[in-house]
Every structure is written in C-alpha cells, then in structure tokens.
C-alpha cells in the first residue's frame, strides 16, 4: 500500500475546480442563447421580416465566439477524470461513464453536427429547415447538459448501483434510476434554465447598450423585448427549481444543507432564523456575527413549521458508529480480496453500507492502513475522522447566499425591463438600460457560485457516502500537476483574452457591420421546399 500524497490531491482538486469553473463560464450562455436564437428564428419564419434574420445572424455570431471556448474547455473535463481522478474513474466508471458516453452519442453529436449547418446553411436551407436546425442545436446542447447532470447527480445522490467486492467498484444495476434520479431532474432544469437567464441578460444588456447609444433602434428594441420576456419567465423557473434542490439536499445530503444554512446545532422550529449574514468558523465550529430573519428557515428548507433540521455537530456524532463499522467493512473487504472466503464476505456485507466512512478513516489510520488500527487507537482515529464528514462551511454558506441575492436581482431587472419594453418606454429609462448593461456578467457569476455551492457542499465525497475525494485522485507526483497547471494557466488566459477581445469588438461594431451582406441575401425568394434553395454551384 502506497501512501497518498495530500499535495497531489489538493492540486488535482484545484485544477479540476479551475477548469470546471472556467468551462462553466461559457456553458450557460450556450444553453440559453441557442433557444433564444430559435425564438428569434421562429418570429422570422412567422413574420418574414428581414430584421429577425439580422438578429439571428448577429446574436449567432456572438454565440459562435462563446461556443468555441465552451466546446474546447469541455474536452478538458472529459480528460481530467482519467488523467487526474484515476481511482474515482475505476471505482465509479461503470456508473459514471455511461451517461457521459450517452451524452456524446445522443447530444453532443447532434449539437456539433447541426451547429455547422446553423452557421453555414443560411443560403442552402429554407427558412423552416434552418429553424429546425437551430432547434436541434438548442436541443442538443441542452441534452448535453442533461447527461452531464445525470452523471453529476450520480455523484451527489448515488442510486441505481451497488458496490461489487469482486471488481472493487460500483456497478450499475438500474439505468432508469440513474436517469430519473430526482437530483438529476431538478439540477438539470435548474442549470438549463439558469442558462436561459444568462443568455437573456446578455442580449438585454447589449441591446440596452445600442439603445443608450441611439444605434440600431429597430434591431435593439426587438431584441430587448424578446430577451426581457425570455428572462423573466426563466428567472421564476430558476428560483422555483432552486427551492426544489434545497428540499432534495435536505433529504439526501444533510451535511450539505446544514453547511449551506450555517447550522451547527439542531434547528429549533418554528422560530429558527434564516441567517442572512454570518461568518462561519470551520475551526471552532461556530458562527460569528450572526444576523438572521426569524421563522424563515424551517418553512424554507422543509416546507413545514415543525420539522427539525439536524445541525452539523449532531451529524458528526451520528457518523461515529458508521466510521467504526466502515473500518470493519474495509478490513473484511481486504481479507475477502486475498482469500475469497465466504466468512469474510459475510462480514463485509454486514458493514457494507458504511464502507465509505471506512475510506475516510483510512486517512487517519497508521500508515493509511485500517487493518493496523489497534483497539486503543480506535477512538482517536474515529475522533480525527469525525470533522472530515463536513464540507467547508464558509465557502458553501457564502456561495449559496451570493447566488440567491443575484437571482433576486435578476428577477427585479427582468420584470422592470419587460414592463418598460411592453409599454414602449425604453428610451426614457436610461438608468434601467445602464443597469442592464452592467448586469451582463452577473448571471455568469451566479451560476459559478451555484456550482460551487453544489460541489463544495458535496465534500468530502466524490461519490456521496461511498468514496472520499482524497482517495479519488491519481497516484502520480507533484511535478505532473505543476506541468499541467502551468499549461492550463497559460492557455486559458490566452483564450479569455481572445474571447473578450472579439466579444467587445463585435458587440461594439453591432449588426450594421454585416448589414450589406444581409441585404443582398434577402433578395433570395425562398421557396416552400423544405430542404434546399440554391445548390452549391
């Protein structure tokens, strides 16, 4: 048994967090902008007005700049499970790889194939066929998100799989349970619709910029109107699904919900306050400077006035017997692996449910070998393991609050925007327009913090209650990590610089930049044939 280098684990976590958060800066815009483009094209097909084609092409161009980096950085994610999380991939690959592979087959292929036609097919497809292509791109990109979140839900709320002592890994036994995991459902809708919000804010903000400058009025007013309506419904949906996710965490991941709410002791319904502000102290296991709103927490989390939410200290105490039992499970498992004896297997089966806690204790066992723990060491190992079952409370607590506050801000902004646009009073509300412009990056911030809440709150596990994070990493040295981290830092900095340069350039140039081309293209009369107008000759 080689011992695990904590430095490698930390660097792997750092690299994964960095690359995932970076990837996730671009994904939400893709998820939303595709459906927004489909909405624009729907109007184009219905009304036949040229301005909607200009809109589809202009927003499509900005979509393309964003999409490229989204695709590129997504490849990184698929590699990293193998390159950096070898033990995780071995332990959970049978379960986790399946949704990823289905994602490729069902969604990514569709999205990527049709996105080429979406950009290049304007003159080769009829309006209806092009609209269908755009819808397929939108569907494809969102189905991609679906399968990724199905995989993610399997990490957070594992179901539809069991541990197999003969192969030393989780093996799936019900794909239906994996796909219809309640966590997957809520998370997918929450994430996808958060993408709609991001896209709506993006379009609304840039349109506001044109209106403020007095340019492209025809174009900007229509874009603003559509984005505001797109955004307000989406924001309502995001908040609803956020509430559903909170309920699910309460049922399946008590440590996460307790950390989100900064709840060290058991709650006292009904008057338990919801903490609007606090500085959680992970070391001392208490909060400083608490400011709370009484009577809110219980109904918010449990949808009832009399249910107690278990606090983190109590959760630690409850974990004690599971840690002892988990250690026994691991000892029996190792014994079974060497002898294949039926008694060892029976012993393992008796403690199987707590195996993950045994893995957690491995970190504190002498020589990282649970079999070497003596009678009198046991209590000290259990005591050392106990605090490990909690996530970083400060991070989880605050990222959740930032996300929530931002989502309320979006609600306000979209509601005002939609109202003012429907009343046709946009150019008299410069303050609102400026707020829209400045709010463009905020949904990206909100989705990032949402992601941090979900994944930091999942710690210390990669597979909740089964496999701890520190055990999941690959067994290579620090130098490998330095090499890859340096490369990522360099490449990703270049990417973001190039993308921002182009985004600003084309947003400033505006749709009039390629207007002359659009004029000449509009002379084409499109026949009703679904497939093709002029062939390529």
């Amino acid at each position: 048994m080689h011992s695990i280098n904590p430095m490698v684990v930390d660097l792997s976590r750092f690299q994964f967090a960095l690359t995932a958060l970076y990837h996730f800066m671009f994904v939400p815009l893709t998820l939303g902008l595709t459906f927004f483009l489909a909405a624009i094209e729907t109007v184009y097909v219905v009304t036949g007005k040229q301005v909607y084609k200009d809109m589809a092409q202009f927003w499509g161009k900005l979509f393309g700049i964003n999409f490229a980096i989204g695709v590129a950085t997504g490849i990184t994610m698929e590699f990293e499970f193998g390159t950096n999380w070898s033990m995780y991939s071995h332990f959970f690959g049978d379960m986790f790889g399946t949704p990823l592979a289905i994602e490729g087959l069902m969604a990514f292929f569709m999205e990527s194939t049709f996105v080429g036609l979406m950009f290049f097919g304007w003159d080769r497809l009829s309006r209806q066929a092009h609209l269908a292509v755009t819808f397929l791109v939108a569907l494809g990109s969102n189905l991609s998100a679906l399968w990724i979140l199905v995989a993610n839900a399997a990490m957070n709320v594992p179901q539809g799989a069991h541990f197999d002592p003969d192969t030393m890994r989780m093996q799936s036994d019900s794909i239906v349970q994996v796909i219809f995991n309640p966590d997957a459902q809520a998370k997918f809708v929450h994430t996808s619709v958060a993408g709609y919000v991001t896209a709506a804010m993006f379009v609304m903000g840039i349109s506001a910029f044109y209106i403020l400058q007095g340019r492209n009025k025809e174009f900007a007013a229509r874009s603003f109107r559509m984005a505001a309506i797109f955004g307000i419904i989406s924001t309502v949906a995001v908040i609803t699904l956020g509430d559903v996710l909170g309920r699910l965490d309460y049922e399946h991941q008590p440590t996460k919900i307790a950390a989100i709410e900064g709840l060290w002791e058991n709650s006292h319904p009904p008057y338990e306050p919801w903490l609007a502000f606090a500085i959680p102290d992970d070391e001392k296991q208490k909060n400083h400077l608490e400011v709370g709103i009484p009577f809110v927490l219980s109904p918010l989390v449990t949808h009832s006035f009399d249910t107690t939410i278990i606090g983190m200290k109590e959760l630690q105490t409850q974990a004690e017997p599971r840690i002892t039992s988990g250690i026994q499970a691991l000892v029996a498992l190792h014994h079974y692996d060497q002898t294949h004896s039926a008694t060892a297997l029976a012993e393992f089966r008796a403690h199987e449910a707590d195996m993950g806690f045994g893995f957690l204790a491995m970190k504190h066992a002498p020589g990282q070998d649970v079999a070497a723990i003596t009678e009198d060491q046991m209590q000290s190992v259990v005591d050392a393991t106990k605090p490990d079952i909690l996530p970083n409370v400060f991070v989880t607590f605050w990222s959740f609050r930032i996300m929530v506050v931002l989502s309320l801000w979006f609600f306000l902004l979209f509601a005002l925007g939609a109202y003012v646009s429907l009343k046709n009073r946009l150019n008299r509300n410069h303050l609102l327009l400026k707020l829209c412009l400045w709010s463009i990056p905020l949904p990206i911030l909100a989705t990032e913090f949402g992601w941090i809440t979900a994944e930091a709150g999942r710690q210390p596990w990669t597979v909740f209650n089964f496999l701890p994070t520190y055990l999941s990493a690959s067994s290579h040295g620090v130098s490998y990590m330095v090499f890859s981290l340096a490369g990522f830092a360099l490449l990703y900095s270049i990417f973001i610089a190039a993308e921002l340069f182009l985004m600003f350039k084309f947003a400033r140039l505006g749709p009039e930049h390629d207007a002359h081309h659009a004029q000449s293209a509009s002379v084409h009369v499109v026949p009703d044939d679904v497939f093709v107008t002029g062939m390529g000759d």
Partner: protein, 63 residues
C-alpha cells in the same frame, strides 16, 4: 403525399403522448422542462409579434 403527411403527424402525436405519459410519470421535472422551454420560446416570440403589432404602419419611434 397527403396521406404520408397525415401518417407522419399521427406518429408524432403518438410519440409525444407516449413521452408525456412515461416521462411525466417517471420524471415530472423533465416533463416540466420540455413544456416550460417551449412556453418560454413561444412567449418571447409572442412578445416580438406584439412589438410588430404595436408599431404597425408607423416608423419605430418610441421603443
């Protein structure tokens, strides 16, 4: 041709119904996403169509 189109439409309706029954039962939120997304797209489109109606015949001045 007409018949083929009718059969195609009928098939699409059957698939949609089966999807609604199965997914609506197993995964209500997935179903909600499908319905909700279509609604969001169509409502946003309706907003644009309303815009056209509001400004019909006149040049766009007040936006």
């Amino acid at each position: 041709m007409q018949l083929v189109r009718m059969v195609g439409l009928a098939l699409a309706v059957v698939v949609a119904l089966l999807f609604a029954v199965f997914v609506g039962d197993q995964g209500p939120w997935y179903f909600a996403w499908v319905v909700g997304t279509v609604m969001i797209v169509l409502t946003a489109s309706a907003g644009a169509v309303l815009f056209e109606a509001q400004h019909q015949g006149s040049e766009v001045k007040d936006i």
